[in-house]
């Protein structure tokens, strides 16, 4: 590949936003080119014998490694479990690979592993293989974790990851408040001297998703709204499609303390990272039923229908603002907060 003179990797290339997408398209997809990868869904969908498997991988470099509501280990389990679950698969097994900086505290490592074990048990999965590397002091920051996972996919859920059955009138659901993880990490970094009392929403959502899939065959798309926030997922959802979507800002729940920090620092909660939130697109006749089912789960108690797929503004997402105005939704560009997960 030809690059511009002196091109280097910028932090924005890892942000999950526009620069990341460009990098993935222009470098990785181009080089690794195959039909499974090029779909670019949260998990690769593999046909093995008579079964369909979902397979995914994710690396975690969050700073700080311990934060209100979780730690890097919890993120590593939940992140991979959620990537499998939003593909419509039942997560079964995950791996965990550690890159550890020389001098890292053994107690901290034990605590992280304990958390991972607890989360795995809650999610009903097993951590079945792993790897450990230690690098010289200063060559990585404390600890980085990679997890990969596989799950079993029911054939009737094959189209969920691509969302190809989405149609006009479908409802858009989010399972609770947005922006908690990003603002929890930001306030846990002591750079700002903020005491905000915000907990990350980091959680494994596979049970919530399984319950929803059990009550409806009309769940047409799911994605976890991590880096780039729900705005990035919503914008990708309609990009290049012959439908648009509209969201009603007042229906989107933002915790007061998250809103406070966002107002103060100029962040838009729609673009702030979550680690326990999914965007779900459900056929309009089933939306209320799915919503009621989700509300029974602790990770869905604040779930809400926030908008719908419309036959206007094709390819674009619109927000009806809380004051009755209109504005567009775009993908996050460049870095908003590095090392958020």
């Amino acid at each position: 590949m030809k690059t511009k003179n002196n091109d280097t990797i910028l932090l924005g290339h890892g942000s999950g936003g526009k620069l990341s997408h460009e990098l993935i398209d222009k470098v990785f997809v181009k080089q690794f080119n195959n039909s499974i990868l090029s779909v670019q869904t949260d998990s690769a969908i593999l046909t093995v014998g008579q079964s369909e498997l979902a397979f995914t991988t994710d690396s975690f470099v969050v700073d700080p490694i311990f934060f209100p509501g979780g730690n890097i280990g919890k993120l590593a389990v939940c992140g991979t479990v959620n990537d499998l679950a939003v593909s419509g698969a039942s997560p079964l097994f995950i791996s965990s690979a550690f890159i550890i900086e020389e001098g890292f505290s053994m107690d901290a490592l034990v605590e992280i592993s304990e958390t991972m074990a607890v989360e795995a048990k809650k999610a009903g999965i097993e951590i079945v293989t792993g790897d450990t590397k230690v690098v010289n002091r200063g060559k990585c920051d404390k600890v980085f974790i990679n997890t990969s996972g596989i799950g079993l996919l029911n054939k009737k859920h094959l189209d969920i990851s691509t969302g190809e059955n989405i149609s006009i009138g479908d409802k858009i659901i989010v399972n609770g408040s947005i922006g908690d993880h990003g603002m929890a990490i930001l306030s846990a970094r002591n750079e700002l001297n903020l005491k905000a009392n915000i907990e990350s929403d980091c959680a494994c959502l596979n049970h919530l998703i399984k319950d929803a899939l059990e009550v409806s065959d009309e769940i047409k798309f799911m994605r976890d709204a991590t880096r780039g926030g729900i705005a990035t997922v919503l914008s990708e959802l309609v990009k290049g499609k012959n439908y648009g979507l509209e969201i009603f800002e007042e229906l989107v729940f933002v915790n007061e303390n998250v809103r406070g920090i966002c107002e103060m620092l100029g962040f838009d909660p729609f673009y702030v990272a979550n680690e326990g939130k999914i965007i779900m697109v459900v056929g309009k006749n089933d939306a209320d039923k799915v919503l009621a089912q989700m509300k029974k789960n602790q990770f869905g108690k604040d779930a809400a229908i926030i908008g719908e797929i419309i036959d206007k503004h094709h390819g674009k997402g619109w927000i009806n603002t809380e004051i009755g105005g209109k504005r567009i939704i775009d993908m996050l560009s460049g870095e908003q907060l590095p090392r958020i997960c």
Binding site: G260, G266, G325, R327
Partner: protein
């Protein structure tokens, strides 16, 4: 949330919009000259609520946008000095210079750190005595006082390794220059935070001599719409004056202590503005008395020849003569991920606000 929700009340918004519709007859252009206003106007979708005869223009209110490319090039040159930390507000690191950007220098190994306050840069200087710390001072009367306090404190602490590279500017010369250049501006949505420091007096000329309506506005939708209503009223009745809508924060006389601090540290010098060129007494230079904290005096660096991008119409956009949609680079060669012009970098820039909220 208290002090916010009451200013975002849908019913109040509806009522003000109805009142605007009732009294607005003339075709008018109103300009906001504060990036915070630009962002709020687009984030809340305010243009979609106004009658067609009211046009909102974005003026030179984003500090990153009006700063010269030479300022960025010089900051890049400083970042290449040995044992140097550049401390800056976040936006600046993505602004393209002539051949590089601070972001790219950072990726190549320069020590460039984002701070949220210049006072963090002071502690950074104290904690790294073996390094030179250069803070990039950017912004209008809003951020200039904290830069002044930083220099004042650095002097008291006798810090040997702290200096500030000033691109600080003051707003009124630009507001006058726009009208002098013939841009049709019937009224200014005057900047709330700038006015908190300066008071209302600085706009007196603009209302009285230049016959432009002037309302100092807050940043919530109700503030903005109420200010637009007040502007329309002034214009429809030909009664041009300076009014304060943002009374809960702005006092007519401003913040006297901050004004004193500005006077102590800075003097007014001629400065270059993107789109407007050199404006007399529009920039803040550091007084001779504090020269040892003035990066321009302390460090001698070679700065590359400034190269402006062809096709970028940031200048005309900043003057309100064109909108981002008129630019052939907008959304194609120039995006927030890979900006050509500074207006696409800062989240207070018009192009950025258009791109994100209004394309």
């Amino acid at each position: 949330m208290k002090y916010i929700d009451e200013y975002r009340d849908k019913e109040i918004v509806k009522r003000i919009v109805a009142n605007i519709n009732k009294i607005s007859k003339k075709d008018i252009s109103l300009m906001e000259v504060c990036g915070g206003h630009t962002m709020a106007i687009h984030k809340f979708g305010i243009p979609s609520l106004l009658p067609e005869n009211i046009k909102l223009l974005s003026g030179p209110g984003c500090p990153v946008c009006v700063s010269s490319r030479k300022f960025i090039d010089q900051a890049i040159a400083y970042s290449r000095l040995n044992d140097t930390i550049i401390a800056t507000y976040g936006d600046l690191i993505r602004v393209p210079g002539s051949t590089s950007s601070l972001n790219k220098e950072k990726a190549k190994g320069a020590d460039i750190r984002i701070v949220y306050s210049v006072l963090d840069a002071i502690s950074m200087a104290q904690n790294n005595p073996e390094k030179k710390l250069i803070f990039l001072g950017i912004g209008f009367e809003t951020t200039a006082p904290s830069s002044a306090v930083a220099i004042f404190n650095a002097n008291k602490l006798n810090l040997k390794n702290f200096s500030l590279f000033s691109s600080h500017k003051v707003m009124p010369p630009a507001m006058k220059a726009l009208i002098n250049e013939g841009v049709k501006i019937d009224g200014y949505i005057a900047p709330g935070h700038v006015s908190t420091i300066t008071g209302a007096g600085i706009y007196k000329d603009i209302a009285e001599k230049y016959k432009a309506a002037c309302v100092i506005a807050g940043f919530e939708p109700v503030d903005l719409l109420q200010s637009i209503y007040m502007l329309v009223k002034q214009i429809e009745t030909n009664d041009y004056k300076v009014e304060i809508e943002y009374k809960r924060v702005v006092k007519p006389e401003g913040n006297l202590k901050a004004q004193e601090m500005l006077e102590e540290i800075f003097y007014l010098r001629d400065d270059w503005w993107r789109g407007l060129g050199i404006l007399s007494k529009s920039g803040l230079g550091i007084r001779e008395k504090y020269a040892r904290f003035d990066a321009e005096k302390v460090y001698d660096v070679e700065v590359e020849e400034t190269r402006e991008d062809k096709g970028c119409i940031c200048g005309e956009i900043l003057k309100g003569l064109k909108t981002p949609n008129d630019c052939k680079l907008f959304g194609k060669a120039c995006t927030p991920g890979d900006p050509v012009g500074a207006c696409m970098v800062s989240n207070e820039g018009s192009c950025y606000a258009y791109y994100r909220y209004k394309a």
